[in-house]
């Protein structure tokens, strides 16, 4: 028997918006976030943290502990005191050495939250300070002993395309540019938290998280492989943006050990100050270009050097670096390319995943670099950029094939018309008076799915479970964290099966029920997980037997044409690319340095939208975070201490800051994506900062080479105007400095 042929929305496109299934409970306040859970007998945990950037712990003194209170520290860990991630350096609790301020040393656990916090504040840790590495400069100088390995480098890679030395010799011009970017804090509105519940032979950890299976593996390692049945359940998650990709593994391991030690449920919820001070951030970066132009002023070769600040532990840094490197030459055809990248260790809060994952840093740099080259040549930046933009059939920076149509030119044209870009671009260059306008544009892409070999390593597996009542359960580890997975994935299944949407069920993942479909990261949920669900749904439809229980599983493998050589970084770094164009108009007050954003226009190619409203939410939300990254979100770490300890000190966009945003998408279906979908979650943030910076640069008439572009920086640039020209030597052969630089 076949399923009914009518869909929930007969004749309607999958993109037509539906009501979010999770909206009602979220509006009503009945959605249960981690801190809303309380179970009988639950204990509260509070973390005692390092106050030193790098030190040996010489002693720890506990105040008298009332009955029922206890501490948990490294020696209580029955398994291994290492969080299972890509590498093996990050402990759940510091042992004898602390490596950053805010690093957890021990937990105080007890029946009352306030008393627990009070006791934790009275724990005295004594230290013997060690020479710290407090900045990238310190790390480069190499005066302090390395934090990681012999060279203090979490990862170092390079890759080539073409023949850069030959390009250097043939070049007519060389342009050098350097850029830097700062930390960014996720500031998801729900602070991180977990609740570990021990039962006979089992250990369940509930938590606000992106990646239940990462957490499961971390907890298993903490409590000892095979000793307990570990079950992870995601609770309603109040925003994540990458910040709940890595860190929940640490919290879950700690709470699990505390729960085992006491035999009671233990809840560990960070307060905001702890969350800002101790959880991962976006990597600060320095990116330098030496670019060679031919006799037609076209891009001939490019040498890119990327330096990321990884903080105290390696975490996900090596893959963040790879994504940054694969974005280093942007959307451009560069025949001869060399990209070198390093992530250095410093005694600062660890850097980790954040929406865009290395790409926002790289796109800020490459887009500003191309802008600068065009301006130096007296050419229109958009024209110059489009002249070099990748087209279908071109080779990517890693020599992968651009298989899909690239619709950047029409997207840019559409936006420029809407924004009046050419006229404004011409008019604003000659601005006068105190208030100066500027308009900037950026082109970007985002590789959808894991970088490099990731998808093949993870081999995400999904399941569909058809119940006897013909309702279908989606069983995936993908998490709803606000982005709309619970809206989009059921639509894909319902439309594939041709059954009403309300017949599809998709609960927050519980690792006892769902297979490991991979983490909810890398703009892979709709394209990869959704793609598997569509295949499984089509299979289910073919074999559909009403009234029968049926189970279908599917495991991801790249389409056969995808080739990747991880050793040489050659081939298709991503299965497919999503594309974006941003235009930003600003007004700068030259007296105060304050930037007012007049309007943002954006166009994206995400293949095909699976829900127009959900996509718009990703566009508006990503653009807002990108705008904060560009202008306001300054997080400084001085002497190893995060200076912005509270929300009031760290400025994310508010209702008063957000300009009108006019966003849209083009339809450009991806053959292997469900209903043509590619990724959308990260792309929308990636291109904002360079468009903002280009606009500010035009308004103030001085180079903008770092973000966030604060008023202080603008005023400084205006004051130093005469020193601020980008340097360039022509021809390159005559310059010993350029040669030695290029030979490194």
């Amino acid at each position: 028997m076949k399923p009914p042929e009518h869909t929930a929305t007969p004749g309607n496109d999958i993109a037509d918006p539906v009501a979010r299934p999770d909206a009602a409970a979220k509006c009503a306040g009945t959605a249960r976030y981690l801190a809303d859970l309380a179970v009988p007998g639950m204990l509260h945990a509070r973390t005692v943290r390092s106050t030193r950037p790098r030190a040996r712990i010489t002693s720890r003194r506990l105040p008298p502990l009332p009955a029922g209170f206890f501490v948990v520290e490294a020696r209580d860990i029955p398994g291994r005191n290492r969080i299972r991630m890509l590498d093996d350096d990050w402990p759940f609790f510091a042992e004898d050495i602390v490596n950053h301020i805010g690093e957890p040393i021990l937990l105080v656990v007890g029946p009352e939250a306030e008393a627990t916090a009070m006791i934790a504040s009275r724990v005295i840790i004594e230290y013997e300070d060690l020479p710290p590495i407090l900045s990238l400069d310190d790390a480069l100088a190499g005066l302090a002993p390395p934090l990681y390995g012999e060279d203090n480098c979490f990862a170092e890679y390079s890759f080539h395309k073409g023949d850069l030395p030959q390009a250097r010799r043939a070049a007519r011009q060389m342009v050098k540019d350097g850029f830097s970017t700062g930390f960014q804090e996720h500031l998801y509105l729900e602070p991180q938290g977990v609740l570990a519940v021990p039962e006979a032979g089992r250990l369940t950890v509930y938590g606000s998280m992106q990646c239940p299976y990462y957490v499961k593996k971390a907890v298993e390692q903490a409590v000892g492989e095979g000793r307990h049945h570990v079950r992870i359940v995601q609770t309603v998650t109040g925003g994540a943006f990458g910040g709940k990709e890595d860190y929940p593994s640490l919290l879950a391991g700690q709470a699990a050990v505390a729960a085992l030690k006491s035999g009671r449920p233990v809840r560990l919820v960070l307060d905001r100050t702890e969350d800002i001070a101790a959880t991962t951030k976006r990597h600060p970066s320095r990116i330098d270009f030496t670019t060679f132009l031919d006799e037609n002023d076209d891009l001939l070769g490019m040498d890119v050097d990327i330096l990321l600040d990884g903080g105290a532990y390696s975490g996900l840094s090596s893959v963040v670096l790879q994504r940054a490197m694969f974005a280093a030459s942007g959307v451009y055809r560069v025949p001869h390319l060399h990209v070198h990248g390093r992530v250095l260790a410093t005694n600062q809060v660890p850097a980790g995943a954040f929406r865009g994952f290395g790409a926002p840093q790289a796109f800020f740099a490459i887009e500003m670099h191309l802008e600068n080259i065009a301006l130096r040549l007296g050419l229109d930046p958009l024209e110059y950029k489009l002249r070099h933009a990748l087209r279908r059939g071109d080779r990517t920076c890693t020599d992968g094939l651009v298989r899909g149509a690239v619709r950047l030119p029409e997207m840019a044209t559409r936006l420029c018309e809407a924004a009046g870009y050419p006229a404004k671009q011409a008019a604003y260059t000659a601005g006068q008076g105190r208030y100066r306008r500027g308009i900037g544009l950026s082109l970007c892409y985002h590789g959808c799915g894991f970088t490099g070999q990731g998808e093949e390593l993870i081999q995400g597996t999904i399941a569909l479970h058809k119940r006897a009542d013909d309702a279908v359960e989606i069983r995936v580890a993908a998490t709803e964290m606000g982005q709309g997975a619970q809206t989009v994935l059921p639509k894909i299944v319902a439309h594939s099966l041709g059954i009403p949407l309300d017949q599809i069920h998709y609960e927050n993942p519980d690792t006892d029920i769902v297979p490991d479909s991979g983490p909810t990261v890398a703009s892979r949920t709709t394209m990869i997980v959704g793609g598997l669900l569509r295949e499984a749904a089509l299979d289910l439809k073919r074999h559909w037997q009403s009234g029968r229980v049926m189970d279908i599983r599917r495991t991801y493998h790249h389409p056969p044409h995808i080739h990747w050589d991880q050793e040489h970084f050659r081939g298709d770094a991503y299965p497919e690319y999503a594309w974006g164009v941003n235009v930003v108009e600003v007004e700068v007050d030259l007296l105060t340095g304050l930037v007012r954003v007049i309007k943002i226009w954006a166009q994206f190619d995400v293949g095909a939208p699976m829900d127009e409203r959900t996509l718009r939410g990703q566009m508006e939300g990503g653009i807002a975070q990108g705008l904060g990254y560009a202008l306001w979100e300054k997080l400084e770490v001085d002497d190893g201490r995060v200076q912005q300890q509270r929300i009031r000190d760290y400025t994310i966009p508010t209702f008063m800051d957000m300009p009108p945003v006019e966003s849209g998408s083009v339809y450009n279906p991806y053959e292997f994506g469900p209903f043509g979908a590619k990724g959308a979650g990260e792309l929308t943030l990636v291109g904002v900062a360079p468009a903002v910076a280009a606009a500010v640069q035009q308004a103030i008439g001085c180079p903008v080479d770092m973000i966030p572009v604060t008023p202080e920086m603008i005023l400084r640039r205006i004051r130093n105007r005469k020193h601020a020209k980008p340097d360039s030597e022509i021809p390159p052969e005559s310059s010993p400095r350029s040669r030695s630089r290029a030979d490194t």
Partner: protein, 156 residues
């Protein structure tokens, strides 16, 4: 100390430290977890409730300050027609993503519409300025309030 106030249209009488933040009393003593704790420092608005019809961050307000006052949390407000209108508008306008800001945001919108049923965009932005949202980019929330105001039909 015995503290009496009206909570969601019912009188409550509690024996609590009057200095305890209202948020903690709501969440921990009364189990009303619809009011969220985003920062505990009055910066994010996730803990917003209505006290005598005015929007207040409950994390900063000692419970002693609401003695004999009227407190309305999302648990009480969701019983009203005004809530229905706002929840519909929030859903339709895409103003809900992770939802952690949403109860506070809805109460902020309610407080505004109660004193001004036809606010312009600037008034909406000003009224919501104490509430942060990290997911939506904010403009879709402004649109939700505009939609609710345009539809009207509820005694705000």
């Amino acid at each position: 100390m015995q503290i009496t106030f009206e909570l969601n249209n019912e009188t409550v009488c509690l024996d609590v430290d009057p200095l305890r933040p209202l948020l903690d009393v709501l969440r921990e003593e009364l189990g009303l977890t619809g009011t969220k704790r985003g920062c505990g420092e009055g910066e994010c608005g996730a803990c917003a409730v209505l006290v005598n019809d005015r929007l207040v961050n409950s994390c900063l307000l000692p419970v002693g300050a609401v003695v004999h006052g009227r407190v309305m949390t999302i648990e009480g407000f969701r019983q009203t027609g005004a809530y229905q209108r706002l929840a519909e508008a929030f859903t339709e306008a895409g103003a809900v993503q992770c939802g952690f800001c949403t109860p506070g945001m809805i109460l902020a919108a309610a407080a505004l519409l109660r004193r001004n049923s036809q606010p312009d965009e600037t008034e909406i932005r000003a009224a919501l300025a104490g509430n942060l949202c990290r997911c939506t980019g904010l403009n879709m929330i402004v649109e939700a309030v505009q939609l609710a105001a345009r539809r009207g039909g509820a005694p705000w």
